[in-house]
Structure formats: C-alpha cells, structure tokens
C-alpha cells in the first residue's frame, strides 16, 4: 500500500507546486472562501513584519494567528510553500494511518461479534469484508489531498492547513491509543482555534474504550481516567499558553486571537453564517446572538456523545463537521478535513438518502460563490443578499450531508441489532421512518 500512497503524494505535491507557480496563486490567496481573517497568509506576513520591527504583532487589527504560528514562520518564512505542502502531506498520511488502524479494530470487533453470533441472521450483507475495506485508507488520503478545497487552501497558504494537520495528528494518536500525545495534540488544536475543545469528549470515550474502562459515572476508574486526561490536556494547554506569553512578553494575544474568534468583530464575508447576520443586527442584540451562535458549536457535543458513545471515531467526524459548519470564520479548508472522512463511512452508502441532492448543491454552490462575488463586488449589480443566499444554501447542504450520515450510521447499527428486514407486528414488511 505504500506505493500508491507515495504516488498520490507526488501527484498532490506536483499539483500544488504547479498552481503555486501560476498566476492563479495570487487570485486564490485573495478569495474569501479560502482564507479567513485569521488564516490569511497576507496577515501572517504583516504580523511577521511587525515582529521584526520590534512591535507586538497584535498591535493594530490585522494579525490574529497564535504566537506559535508567528514564531514558526519567523524561521520558516522562506520555506512557507514547502511548509504548507508538508502540512497537507502530514495530514493525509496521519489520516491514512489513523483510518487504517481504525478499520483494523472495526474488523476485529466485527469478527468477535460474529464468533459470538451476536448479529441477526439476515445481516450478512451488512458485514464488512476486508476486500472492500482494503482501499479505504488510500481513498481517505486521496479525498483529502486531491480535494479542490484542500488544494485551494494550500495554494493560498491558509494556516488552516496547519490546523488540519494538528487535528489529523490528534486523530492518529488517539486511535493509536496514546493518551499523552492525544492530549498534547488536542491542546495544540485547541490553542489554534478553541473549537476543537469539543473533541475532548470523543477522545476520552475512545481511549477509555481502548483501555477497557467502562463509561460509568459510578466507577472510580472512569473518574480517574477523566481526571488523568484532563490533567494532561489542561496541563499542556497551560504550558503552551505560558510559553506564548514568554515568547511575546505580553498577554496581547489572548484578546486578539481568542477574543477575535469568540466575539466576531470582523464581518468580512465568508462561507459561514455569522457575517451577514451580525452585519444586519441591531447593536444591542449582538451579545445575545453571539452567545446563541457560539453555543451552537459546543452544544451538539452532549447529545452526540450520548448517542454515539460506543462509536467515538464517528463522533470525531461529526464534531469536526459541526465545528466547520458553525465556527465563526470557516473556510473551505475546514470543510475539506471532514469531507476526507467520508470514504471511511462508505459502508453507509446504502442508507444515505440525499447524497445526490447534497452533492449537486455543494457543486453548484462552489461554482456560484465566485460568480456572485464578482457580481457583488466588481460588477456592483448584485448585492450581499445574493452571496449570502449561496452561503446559506452551502451550509444547509453541509448540515443535510452530516445529518444524513448520522441517520445512516444509526440505522445500520439498528439493523445490526434488530435484523435487516424488519417486520411489523402483523408480519408485513416495515419501514423505518425518521420523524
């Protein structure tokens, strides 16, 4: 399997290098769908310039990345292009290995269940075979590397690529069962953009499952593990925050990075839901709706955790999707990360109901973004409502996609316990209806 992966990496890097050298690179770097006020490379350069002048990079209202990023690029600014390609490659390889490991476990678990005769007899066709699972990791890497969204993001040098790499490494270390590294990468991801905080829950669920600790609130071992994990997580967060403080010598970055993410002062249009809403709103409702919008990201953790507590990896996927839809400055790079997981759930395809609709809408929206932007900003004939309508449609399609996968996953689990061909009480064939 190493050869196709290597080939894939070479192809992906070639595409990126070619695009980087074409005149398109500049155009892409300006697109609001690809870069947000936080991740824009232009702003990182500005921050670096300020840093070189001995001024705090956070003075002024341009730079909003974290101190670690700016110190990383302080050394790597000449190799930025390679750094971003490397980040993409790391993400892809990490996802590849993670999914491979995960598939192995899924298969083992399935084998035990089969041996224990736990599945109903008519569920044969739902059982996953090694043959169909063989290419999944490669497909995951391909979905990430060859996704136009990722390519655009990488060519634009959006720091989103680095965040994705950290999150992918977190997924890898979690699935490998390494508690300490998992906590450290999670803390790095949180440090970068706050929202991955919600990934804490699936990580703990997974690691407990890995170590055969029952998820039971009355058990001491449960609380002991939670305490351990949180200690590692918060400890490394503390270390990293302090490190940032010592690097910069001030706490400037806290309001400028996290305040910026949470209070959404920059209303540059993007593919998210915030900008239009907050641009239109009366000022005195702002705080209230800010809370409502931000809670949206965190709130789904609880019901999803309860429903998916036996399937933490699927929960990670769901959480990533929720984050990328509801975060305050989303870019297509965030979308690309969770889309990369889709091949891992290819066994759910038979239960998906709206994939045609969703893929059509996503495709159309991707084409319409630049068109409506042109009409609004350059031609001046359309206005922001046109663009926001497409944003809204894009997000509805994403939500539909995610909920469809959620439904399909639960449906498959249901069939695995109750049998594939459900019967009503009178013996006629029944259908499942989601209400």
């Amino acid at each position: 399997m190493a050869a196709p992966l290597t080939l894939l990496l070479i192809v992906a890097v070639t595409i990126r290098a070619a695009l980087n050298r074409s005149s398109l690179a500049e155009l892409i770097a300006e697109r609001v769908e690809v870069v947000s006020p936080i991740t824009a490379w232009k702003r990182v350069i500005e921050g670096l310039a300020l840093l070189d002048l001995g001024v705090s990079p956070y003075s002024g209202d341009v730079f909003h990345e974290t101190p670690l990023i700016i110190y990383l690029f302080h050394f790597l600014v000449d190799y930025a292009e390679i750094t971003f390609m490397l980040a993409d490659v790391i993400t892809a390889v990490a996802l590849y290995m993670a999914v491979k490991d995960y598939n192995k476990q899924v298969f083992r678990k399935q084998k035990f269940s089969l041996e224990a005769d736990r599945y109903p007899a008519d569920c044969r066709e739902l059982i996953r075979t090694p043959k169909e699972m063989y290419y999944i990791p490669l497909k995951v890497a391909m979905f990430y590397l060859l996704n136009p969204f990722t390519i655009l993001s990488c060519v634009a040098k959006s720091t989103c690529g680095l965040n994705n790499a950290v999150i992918a490494l977190f997924a890898l270390t979690t699935i490998k069962g390494n508690v300490l590294l998992s906590a450290i990468f999670l803390c790095l991801a949180t440090y970068q953009s706050i929202y991955p905080l919600t990934l804490c829950a699936p990580a703990m669920l997974y690691l407990m499952q890995h170590q055969y600790i029952p998820v039971n609130f009355r058990r001491a071992s449960f609380w002991w593990f939670v305490a351990q994990y949180l200690f590692m997580y918060l400890g490394s967060l503390f270390v990293i925050v302090c490190l940032s403080f010592f690097l910069l010598g001030s706490w400037d970055y806290l309001p400028s990075v996290y305040g910026f993410i949470l209070s959404v002062p920059d209303l540059t249009p993007n593919i998210g839901l915030f900008w239009y809403f907050f641009a239109e709103m009366f000022e005195h409702f702002r705080l209230f709706f800010l809370c409502v919008f931000q809670i949206n990201v965190f709130f789904y953790t609880i019901p999803l955790c309860i429903k998916l507590k036996d399937h933490p990896v699927f929960l990670i996927f769901m959480q990533l999707a929720v984050i990328s839809i509801f975060k305050s400055y989303p870019t297509v790079g965030d979308t690309a990360l969770y889309l990369a997981f889709l091949p891992a759930w290819s066994h759910l395809h038979r239960f998906l109901r709206n994939n045609f609709l969703v893929s059509c809408v996503l495709l159309a929206c991707s084409a319409l973004f630049p068109v409506l932007w042109h009409l609004w900003i350059y031609a001046g004939s359309a206005n922001s409502n046109f663009y926001y309508a497409i944003t809204l449609l894009f997000n509805v399609a994403q939500i539909l996609l995610v909920s469809d996968y959620f439904y399909a996953f639960l449906r498959r689990e249901h069939h695995l316990t109750n049998g594939l061909y459900l019967k009503k009480k009178d013996g006629s064939e029944a259908t499942l209806v989601l209400k």
Partner: protein, 615 residues
C-alpha cells in the same frame, strides 16, 4: 423535512418524476420559451420609474444657449482633424484651455493580436485629450464624464463641437458639485480602455499608455456622445456594455424623462415605442426590440464607447443622435439642453446610482422586465437538466427494482472505471484549450503556408480546430478504455448534464441573454442524447444545435431583426468577421464570451457528442 425523511412519499415523488420525465421536460421547455416570449407583452412588464430620490423630484432648468457656436467649433475641429490627419491634439488642448479647463493628454499604443479588418487597424497609436472642470461647490471627490470619440472621416465632429460648447457653458455655472471631465478619445474603445485603465491604475490587457497627469474624483457616471449631423430627428440610447453588463436602470430613466420633458423623440435599439401593445404588430415590435437587446447583450461586446466604464462600477451609456427622414428636426441647442439637464441631475446625486435595477431587459424605453420576471424562463430550461440528472441517478443507483430506501437494494452493477469518464472529460477540455490558444499562436505559420491574410488565418484555424474536435474525442476514448459500457455513458451523461447545468446557471447570472440563448440550444441536446438514438439524424441535430451553429443563426437572426437581411454568402462573411471580432474583444477589452465558449461550453457540448458515439 417530511419529503426528505419519509421514504414512502419520497418514493412516490421520485417514481412520478422518473415516469413522467420526458413529458415534463418537453412541457418545461415550451413553458420556458413561452414565458420568454411573454416578457415582451406589455401587461407583463413594469413601467419604468425613477427610483433615485436625488434625481426624481428636484427641478432643474436647462439654459444652454449656444448650439450654433458649438457647431462652428465642430466645423473648426473637422478642419483641423483633416489637416492633421488624425486627432488634432494641439488644437484641442488650446481650445479646451481657452474654455478654462485643466487640460491633459495621454498617449497610448497597442498592437492588436491580429489585424482588425473591420476597422482596418493593426498597430494603433493615439492620444486622448481630456479637460477637467473642477467642482466649485464641493470637495473634489467625485466626478462625471462626458466623452466624445474622435472618429475617422466626417463622423462625430458635431459631438466634439457640442462637448466643447458644453464645457464652455458649464464653466460659467457655479452649481457643480462634482468634477466634470470632458474626454475626447481616439480610436474609440482602445483609447477609452487606455484612459480608464490609467485612471484606475490597472492594466488588465497589457496595453501601453502614459500615466494620467491629472485626475478628478471617483467617477459616478459617464455619458458618451455620438453626433454626426447638425440637426437630429431622434435620440438613441445604448446600454449594453462589456460582457453584457448594463448600467443602472435609473440612467435610462433619466434619459427618457428628459427626452419627454424637452420633446425629443427617443429610441432604444433604434426602435420607437408604440402604444398599440394589444395589436399583433405592436407586440411583434416589442419582441423585436427586446430580442435586439438580448442579442446585443449575449454578444458580450461593448456596443458603444460607454461599455468599458461599467467594468469599473461606473454607470454609463452612449447617446446617439440620429438624423433620419422624419419631418420634425431638433437643433443642437436643444440637444445641448438635454445633456445639460442630464448632467445637472447627475450632479445632484448623493451616492452612486444603486436604487434601481441592474438586471433588466427593455421591450421599449418606457417598460422593462426585471430579473425576477425573466429568470423563471431560464429556470424552466435549467430544471430540465436537473430532471434528466435525477432520472439518470435513479437508474444508476437503483437498477430495475427501484428502491429509494436502502433495504431492498440488490447487489450493485460493477461501477464503471473512473478512466472511462475522465478520459472524455480531459480530451474535450484539451480540445477546448486548443480552440482557445491555437488560432492566435499559429497565425504566422498559417499565413506562410496558405494564401490567406492573418485575420482569415485566425478565424479559419478556429473553425478547423472546432471541426477537428468533432472527430477526435470519441475515437480516442475507446482506444484507451475499451468498449464503452452501458453504465459508462450514463455516468458520463450525468456528469455532463450537471456540468452544463452549473455552467449555464453561472452564465445566466452574469449575462442572462447569453445563458438563455445557450440553454435554448444546448438543453434539448443534453436531454435527448443517448447512444441508442438513430446516429445520423441525431448527429445532424447535434451539429445544428452546437455553439458554432448557434452563432451562425444568431448572425442571420440579428440581421433579420435589424431589418437588414443578408444573403447566405454575405451572412457567412459576416459570421467570419463576428468570430474575429469576438476574439479581438477578448484580447483587447477582456470580454469573456470567447474563452467561455472555447474553454467551457464547447467541451461540454463535445461530451454529448461523445455520448452519441459511445458504442
């Protein structure tokens, strides 16, 4: 959510859509065409009205007195133009300075990618002269432009004369709150392009020009004047700009309002408006006017010197004085008063024109159709593509036993390789790229080996590449991936149909007319093509409905609309010149129609051609 989550209702809906697919598609097509034709019917249109408050209720008086003097200046200009054999720069500078303007000149040069045979130019060198009247009443942050072209021959001398006369008169008024720039541009659009690029510090087409020495504020609106006779019978307004962009409707309203006030006949597309909308001839007159607008907009070229302003978010129009055989004539003083009135109203603007519509079609100058009314016509055509795609998807996802709910799903047929879909896609796009790049690259080679001029070489190469594309792709994909499977063409068609839908949708948003005309011809192709229809007949239909033939028909149709029908021979020559003009528009001004057709629409059409010859 009921429809999306309830499997029974979904199944009912989808089986309905697949069972009645063909009739629904036919119905949609005719409904779309009928809707479009209905747009010109007056009860379905809206009356134009002034939306901008600053221009609506305020009264202005027009007092421009010196039409005769303007004509005399025009004659003087003509004499100097003849003497110099081009733009009389020194004389213009002197005259403008004498009228109290700040005068600047700008020189520019441009080598065309290939000679323009219509206007007989290849290496263009010229000078623009412009004078700025500084606003006495406001900080000079905004400006208006009045331009007149310096045309070869005896054209537009009166326009320059009137421009100078107006400059003289405006100078003595104290109410100007915006700078007024009087621009005399040489080589029509090329000069205008040079001036605008320099004014806005951009260079999109690689033209050489000297930087502007003086600037006004940001330009709010511009009028371009064309006037070639001492008296006129009517005034024509031209709105269509680059890539089918239109100025804000309020500009047309303003023009119309002043023509009414002063009592000058005004036309759009050279057509007077008529009051007998309920008669057949009245309706056909309105249809003719609207179709002319649609054809002009679809061509994507600027139809007057104003066309390039629109790119910079400046509302602009060209006003043409027409002298025909009508009895009632209007003298230049009245024309001057009309322009004065328009400029005074524009001067009152507090913000850019934005209140009224930007997307509209005009069946007459007093009526318009807005985007909300004309988009359904396109939508009805586009929905056919989606219905076909849905049909294909259902066939593909659930072979014979149709189940939407996954339960009874039988084993899938082996899905076709990515290669069998990717190869035609790549090949047809490469052909498209060849169509885009080859004609200009190989003109020298072609001229060396064939007895043709450069322009002919370019056009004929384009036609040759286009025709060669028909032979190429469907032969190669079979070599690469073996015999095409049943599933293979279905997937390819699904991809092609969705591609076409997205492509046409985006085109229609930017340039409705182009999108609609393309949809009119390409949608039937996309809907009916399968490998199982009779080959020869379908191939003929496909060629007839291909983009190039659409263009050919459009040329004849346009001539017909203008009441200047041409013989087939002349039509063919016109067709060739239209192709070369289209390419020149792209290389000179950045019109997008040629690259759109070559790089996207043509490859998309080739995919359908491919499907026809799948086996």
């Amino acid at each position: 959510m009921g429809l999306l989550s309830d499997p029974n209702r979904r199944r009912a809906l989808i089986s309905l859509l697949t069972r009645l697919n063909a009739p629904i598609c036919v119905l949609c097509y005719f409904a779309g065409v009928c809707w479009f034709m209905g747009l010109a019917f007056e009860p379905f249109t809206l009356r134009t009205y002034m939306s901008e408050n600053a221009m609506g209720s305020t009264m202005v008086e027009e007092r421009f007195p010196s039409g005769e003097r303007a004509l005399a200046t025009g004659r003087e200009f003509a004499a100097h133009k003849k003497k110099v054999g081009g733009m009389p720069v020194d004389w213009l500078v002197k005259t403008m300075q004498a009228r109290g303007l700040e005068v600047f000149t700008q020189s520019f040069s441009r080598t065309l990618p290939f000679p323009d045979e219509n206007k007989e130019r290849y290496i263009v060198k010229g000078t623009n002269v412009y004078g700025i009247l500084r606003a006495p009443r406001a900080p000079r942050t905004e400006a208006l432009v009045l331009s007149a072209p310096c045309s070869p021959g005896d054209n537009n001398n009166q326009a320059v004369g009137l421009l100078l006369g107006l400059a003289h008169y405006f100078r003595s008024q104290i109410f100007w709150a915006k700078d007024i720039i009087f621009l005399v541009n040489e080589h029509d659009l090329i000069g205008m392009q040079a001036w605008l690029e320099s004014y806005h510090h951009t260079n999109t087409t690689g033209m050489d020009w000297s930087p502007l020495q003086g600037r006004g504020g940001s330009i709010q609106a511009a009028l371009s004047l064309e006037l070639s006779s001492d008296v006129i019978t009517s005034f024509d307004i031209v709105l269509e700009g680059l890539n089918g962009q239109l100025p804000n409707l309020d500009l047309a309203n303003l023009f119309y309002a002043f023509c009414q006030k002063i009592g000058v006949l005004c036309t759009i597309q050279g057509k007077l408006q008529r009051n007998d909308w309920d008669s057949v001839s009245g309706y056909s007159h309105a249809v003719q006017t609207m179709m002319l607008m649609v054809m002009k907009q679809a061509s994507g070229r600027p139809w007057g010197d104003h066309g390039l302003f629109l790119r910079y978010h400046i509302e602009a129009a060209t006003v043409k004085g027409i002298n025909s055989f009508r009895q009632y004539k209007t003298d230049v003083t009245t024309v001057g008063r009309l322009l004065e009135g328009i400029f005074r109203k524009l001067n009152n603007l507090l913000e850019r024109l934005h209140q009224s519509y930007f997307f509209y079609l005009m069946p007459s100058l007093s009526h318009f159709v807005s985007i909300g009314y004309y988009m359904p016509a396109f939508g009805l055509l586009a929905v056919i593509l989606l219905l076909r795609a849905l049909d294909l998807w259902v066939q593909f996802a659930n072979p014979p036993a149709v189940t939407v709910d996954g339960v009874a799903d039988i084993e899938r047929q082996s899905s076709p390789g990515v290669l069998s879909v990717l190869t035609p896609l790549v090949i047809s796009h490469l052909t498209g790229a060849a169509l885009y790049f080859l004609p200009t690259r190989f003109q020298e080679t072609a001229v060396e080996h064939f007895p043709v001029s450069e322009t002919e070489a370019v056009v004929l190469t384009a036609i040759a590449v286009y025709t060669a594309g028909l032979a190429l792709p469907h032969n190669t994909h079979r070599l690469l991936s073996g015999e095409g499977t049943e599933q293979g063409w279905r997937v390819l068609k699904l991809v092609a149909v969705l591609y076409l839908a997205v492509l046409l949708g985006c085109t229609a948003l930017i340039n409705f007319s182009l999108g609609f005309i393309l949809a009119l011809t390409l949608v039937p192709v996309a809907a009916f093509v399968t490998p199982h229809v009779p080959k020869t007949l379908s191939a003929v239909i496909l060629v007839v409905l291909s983009p190039a033939c659409t263009l050919l028909f459009s040329v004849f149709f346009f001539q017909e609309l203008q009441e200047m029908p041409v013989s087939f021979q002349d039509g063919w020559l016109l067709y060739l010149s239209v192709i070369s003009q289209g390419m020149l528009d792209h290389y000179l001004y950045g019109s997008l129609v040629y690259p759109l057709i070559a790089l996207m629409v043509y490859p998309c059409w080739l995919l359908f051609w491919n499907i026809l010859f799948w086996k």
